[in-house]
Symmetry: C2
Subunit: 297 residues, 2 copies
């Protein structure tokens, strides 16, 4: 068995940090994560540099990441302008996003869900076949404005998204970290049963449930898991959400479950230390080293 | 649905702290946890005060705990002398313990597993019917001396333990925090299928898998879950193991899963703060407050 871990520290991990992280630091982090075995990475976002100044150097980070052998470079794309930039700069995969709830979509994207969906649908139609797509649906389980999200509403949106492109990966995102493991398992099991094995899980560890939710998503058929080295991150538009689930924690859990991750564990811990040391970052990983087997006294 | 959360901060949480925690502080913690809704608590251990000085005042803490309405007071009992003391001081439930692995049993108890089993079997025979029993099997999933523990060996020991007393609760303990959720689920599912719904799970959050393992144990039929307010704790004889899974994290996860815990959440967070503030403690809980539902801007 093999899981694809999509490393998001360079984007989701850094995005919530106020002070601008120098481009060289970002590139060093991308290289360290690649050296540890990361083969898919969200390296940035082609968003307005006024809205999110931290992502203003995405073109440079992407250019450096594209030099790394075997690395699939993903960027977030909120709109047509971001789409054009992502294609021009040679991103391998585009991450589109909208929210499952009206409240979060308005707060995060200043648009209704219908408006977001229409705009993203048009982008999908225009995406050249050699560029991969991922559709991120935020606040699938819990919303800071609407509370626990009813599953039927989620499945309705997933159905509409799934119809747009049968090959497109769909990420069901626990934006606030307040999904419950049984809820995650139920939603993924239903989504996979209805729309096939094309689902990714993006989770946060705000309340300690991060790995429980990753395990639940995996159990129900998610085969791509997002995580950020050092447990960096948080969504500035989801009050209370802090910390992506940590790559080193996720990788260790999968390795204990006998699932291949592609990471070299010791090199990964070095990269996680680098991520956790970014000024302004709020690291949150638990894993500090590989448990040794001791000699009995 | 209802889960029994067995609060272990006064025993497992404090045991690893070097400096003696004053008896009044211990009693205040027990009272705060009871006020928050704890109805089962491991309040101490009748062990040698030379081996574990922190537990030297168990008789006093137990006497205070016994005054609290509706609280089942448990104490750990390693041997005949502890058994006599526990009965003399009116403990409601006795926690017996040995390890699933020879290496940890020797390191922790200075005895072979067969020696421990024989001693505990004799104690069980002599336990009056009005006193409840729990048999804690340590290092069921991973051992600091032997690595990952083979399930057949565990099931063999569980079978022998289950035979001693058909009503006795059996706790399968992840002493190091390095159990994997799929392993926990498998072992509990097999144990429940073979020996009925009498199993408890005791876990640590050393590597971030604490709640994932609690969720897995629950899913497979464990109905009693150990946790320590504030995520205090660790086993001094399991190198690298730090931090029981935190009661506030466990209670929040169950409440999100729609499972009753009996805790008042806000009072519990106050008790968790008290636990985390014990000098020398290494708190580890994640939960800091109940997520509010915000008004959209």
């Amino acid at each position: 068995m093999k899981v694809t871990i999509s490393e998001v520290a360079p984007r989701d991990g850094l995005q919530s940090i106020d002070g601008f992280v120098p481009t060289d630091t970002k590139i060093a982090l991308v290289r360290a994560l690649h050296a540890a075995g990361a083969r898919r990475m969200e390296v940035g976002a082609f968003v307005s540099p006024r809205a999110i100044p931290q992502m203003a150097d995405t073109a440079q980070v992407l250019a450096a990441a594209r030099q790394l052998p075997g690395l699939e470079c993903c960027v977030l794309v909120p709109n047509r302008r971001g789409f054009d930039l992502a294609l021009a700069h040679g991103a391998h995969r585009l991450g589109l996003f909208m929210s499952a709830t009206e409240g979060h979509n308005r707060a995060n994207l200043n648009a209704t869900r219908e408006e977001s969906f229409a705009g993203l649908s048009a982008i999908i139609l225009d995406t050249p076949p050699e560029v991969a797509l991922r559709f991120n649906l935020s606040c699938v389980f819990h919303c800071p404005f609407e509370g626990v999200v009813p599953e039927p509403m989620v499945i309705d949106w997933v159905a509409r998204i799934a119809e747009l492109d049968p090959a497109m990966e769909i990420a069901l995102c626990d934006t606030t970290g307040n999904a419950a493991p049984d809820q995650v398992e139920r939603v993924f099991a239903d989504a996979v049963a209805l729309f096939g094995p094309r689902f990714a899980f993006h989770g946060h560890d705000t309340y300690g449930m991060g790995l429980a939710n990753v395990a639940a998503a995996w159990r129900a058929g998610a085969r791509v898991i997002d995580s950020a080295a050092g447990g960096l991150g948080g969504c500035p538009f989801a009050p209370g959400a802090t910390g992506n689930v940590a790559t080193e924690d996720v990788a260790w859990m999968f390795s204990r479950m006998g699932v291949e991750t592609g990471f070299d564990y010791r090199t990964l811990l070095t990269a996680a230390d680098l991520a956790a040391a970014v000024p302004g970052g709020m690291p949150g990983g638990r894993m500090r080293g590989v448990p040794a087997v001791r000699k009995a006294a």
